[in-house]
């Protein structure tokens, strides 16, 4: 069974009397352990699709089933808990909490879940050391470079062992060296720990690293290739 099963999914954005079919009848399955990129021009609907999959937005039609459960049919409260327990998020602009240290940021979702403090602290520390930030545990994001912040964000996204991690343009704000480093890290985590990654990009170098590339155009899948 796929981790993510998308059936006839559509989303209509309405603004100023204009409506846009940002996602238009998409069918798609993502299996466990995939390392998949969604690429497409600006405005093609990548963010909208990832938001629907992540339960940040709700569909106008169709279904997103995760582990067999329809995320669009949950109540807001259920959906929030579902995001917390089953999905990891990495954002384009890092979105770490500026008032928390790197360690506290990585612990955060586990804390929301109510995990005991020693468990979550150990897990967060191990992860931060693993991604080469062992010396930055008690540093706040403002004192970290963009590349370092995004690594912390990746650690936060998978610390609570979600079913998959969604990353919307995770490298868009990074220079090429940091981009390469981050991708290496994500690949490593994918291969060694079996973490499922679904990310969007318009960077061809990022796209090359993906094992499956879905090209998105006008809210529809134009091509879907394994490489």
């Amino acid at each position: 069974m796929p981790v993510i099963d998308i059936q006839n999914l559509s989303k209509v954005h309405a603004a100023d009397g204009l409506s846009v079919n940002a996602v238009n009848g998409v069918n798609l399955q993502i299996g466990a352990g995939e390392f998949t990129a969604i690429v497409g021009a600006s405005g093609s609907g990548k963010t909208t699709l990832l938001n629907l999959i992540g339960g940040i937005d709700t569909p106008s039609g169709g279904e997103v089933l995760i582990g067999g459960r329809s995320i669009g049919r949950m109540s807001e409260t259920e959906r929030t808990a579902f995001r917390r327990d089953h999905i990891g998020f990495v954002f384009q602009n890092y979105n770490l909490l500026p008032v928390l240290t790197a360690l506290e940021n990585v612990e955060f979702v586990m804390e929301l879940q109510g995990q005991p403090v020693t468990d979550r602290r150990n897990r967060a520390e191990t992860l931060l050391r693993q991604i080469g930030l062992g010396d930055k545990l008690n540093v706040r994001p403002g004192k970290l470079s963009g590349g370092q912040q995004q690594r912390v964000a990746v650690a936060r996204a998978l610390a609570h062992r979600p079913q998959f991690v969604i990353a919307d343009e995770p490298t868009a704000n990074l220079d090429s060296k940091s981009t390469a480093d981050l991708l290496t890290l994500m690949e490593q985590l994918n291969r060694q720990e079996g973490i499922t990654f679904l990310f969007s990009t318009h960077d061809s170098r990022v796209m090359e690293k993906a094992r499956r590339v879905i090209v998105f155009n006008d809210g529809m899948i134009q091509s879907d290739t394994d490489q």
């Binding site: 909208t48 992540g54 940040i56 807001e76 954002f91 979105n95």
Partner: protein, 404 residues
């Protein structure tokens, strides 16, 4: 999520915009300090004024013949007074009972004269009942020794150009309808905070005034209670056996303007607190609006990664509560220091307010009840107002918030 972490995040969030937070907390601090100081001083003035008036002028309750309060007619004396006094003294909760004659008359000195109220009092009882002795500025209280002593106020002494040991003639209407006069010697001069009392009242011995007027039964029984807060109970007990044609009045009736003033002060206090709360409330509302606007993306992110609406809301409210508490606690400390200094060195209040029975220098003390009213009311109101913008977070559109 655990409250401790929410509070910790709220605490750290306060310091993200130091200037803005400090301005708000400073405003709250000053607001609370000024409110506490002002209201306490006002309360202290009102309470002191009332206490002085009760202790010197009326005592807690008085018994009169019906009609006497409105018209000090010489013949309106109390029937069966001795039996009544004995019964009152046996009533539980009664500390002192003192009988008085109250007669209008003319006080004449060689240079001048004045019309006023001559009070005939029994020295032994009166000195236990009234604190007039505390306000003596020259000489001593009335005693059973010596011939025809009289107490007059500083103002009366100045007006009549007399001193301690001067002689005065008191002229009154006697029971038989004739004028009667007697010579009295000044043994003490008093100055109470109440100008009207001082200008209008002289005190002589009961027996001397009785001899002069030919009226022996008292016009007034002044009753002091062991515990003034038992007023209602003791009044009820006394009222149960009052002779026909007599009436019992408490200080609230005898000093209506002071009783009303007490209520007025309470109202001013509540209004003052409301105004401060509104000011702080809108300032906090404004701060909260800016916070929600500035941190929309961050709040959207928190919601996205799984923090619940209520938890985010609570975190924002905690930020407000913390700022409010810091301001309030600081304000209470500062206000208490102000009050402490005032209690030690006194606050000089205009001498002219003696007309209102207000002492020229006040030494306020901190009224804990007032402290809790101000703290409770202001904190509650302020927070209620700040809930309005904070509640916007409950309706946050995640996708839009994250796009910012």
């Amino acid at each position: 999520m655990m409250n401790r972490t929410l509070n910790q995040m709220a605490w750290r969030n306060i310091w993200r915009n130091k200037t803005r937070s400090l301005v708000f907390m400073g405003a709250a601090l000053l607001g609370f300090a000024v409110a506490l100081f002002t209201l306490n001083t006002m309360k202290a003035i009102a309470a002191q004024r009332l206490r002085d008036a009760i202790n010197v002028q009326t005592s807690d309750v008085q018994v009169h013949r019906k009609g006497f309060v409105d018209d000090h007619e010489l013949t309106y004396t109390l029937p069966q007074a001795d039996a009544l006094i004995t019964r009152l003294r046996q009533t539980s909760g009664v500390a002192v009972v003192a009988k008085r004659l109250v007669v209008n008359g003319v006080v004449t000195a060689p240079d001048n004269n004045l019309v006023g109220e001559i009070k005939g009092v029994v020295p032994r009882d009166e000195n236990r009942l009234s604190v007039l002795g505390d306000f003596l500025v020259e000489g001593g209280p009335l005693t059973d020794d010596g011939r025809s002593p009289i107490l007059i106020s500083r103002r009366t002494a100045d007006k009549l150009h007399v001193r301690l040991k001067s002689k005065l003639v008191i002229t009154v209407k006697a029971a038989n309808g004739d004028l009667a006069g007697g010579v009295f010697r000044v043994v003490g001069i008093f100055a109470t905070p109440s100008t009207p009392f001082d200008e209008n009242t002289v005190l002589v011995r009961y027996n001397d005034l009785a001899a002069l007027t030919g009226v022996t039964a008292p016009h007034e029984l002044a009753v002091k209670l062991t515990n003034p807060s038992q007023l209602a109970e003791v009044k009820a007990a006394i009222n149960a056996g009052m002779p026909a044609g007599t009436q019992l009045d408490d200080w609230k009736v005898l000093l209506p303007e002071l009783f009303a003033f007490d209520g007025f002060i309470n109202m001013v206090g509540i209004l003052f607190t409301l105004i401060i709360s509104l000011g702080l409330g809108f300032s906090l509302m404004n701060t909260m609006n800016m916070i929600v606007a500035e941190r929309t993306r961050e709040l959207g992110m928190l919601r996205a990664i799984g923090q619940s609406r209520w938890s985010v809301f609570r975190m924002l409210i905690a930020e407000c509560v913390l700022m409010m508490l810091i301001g309030a606690i600081g304000g209470v400390l500062l206000g208490t220091v102000f009050i402490g200094l005032a209690a030690r060195y006194g606050i000089r209040i205009s001498e002219g307010l003696g007309m209102l029975g207000i002492r020229p220098v006040m030494y306020p003390t901190l009224d804990p009840a007032l402290l809790f009213v101000i703290l409770g009311l202001a904190t509650l109101l302020t927070l209620l107002i700040s809930l309005v913008p904070a509640s916007r977070i409950l309706r946050l559109n995640l996708a839009q918030a994250l796009k910012q």
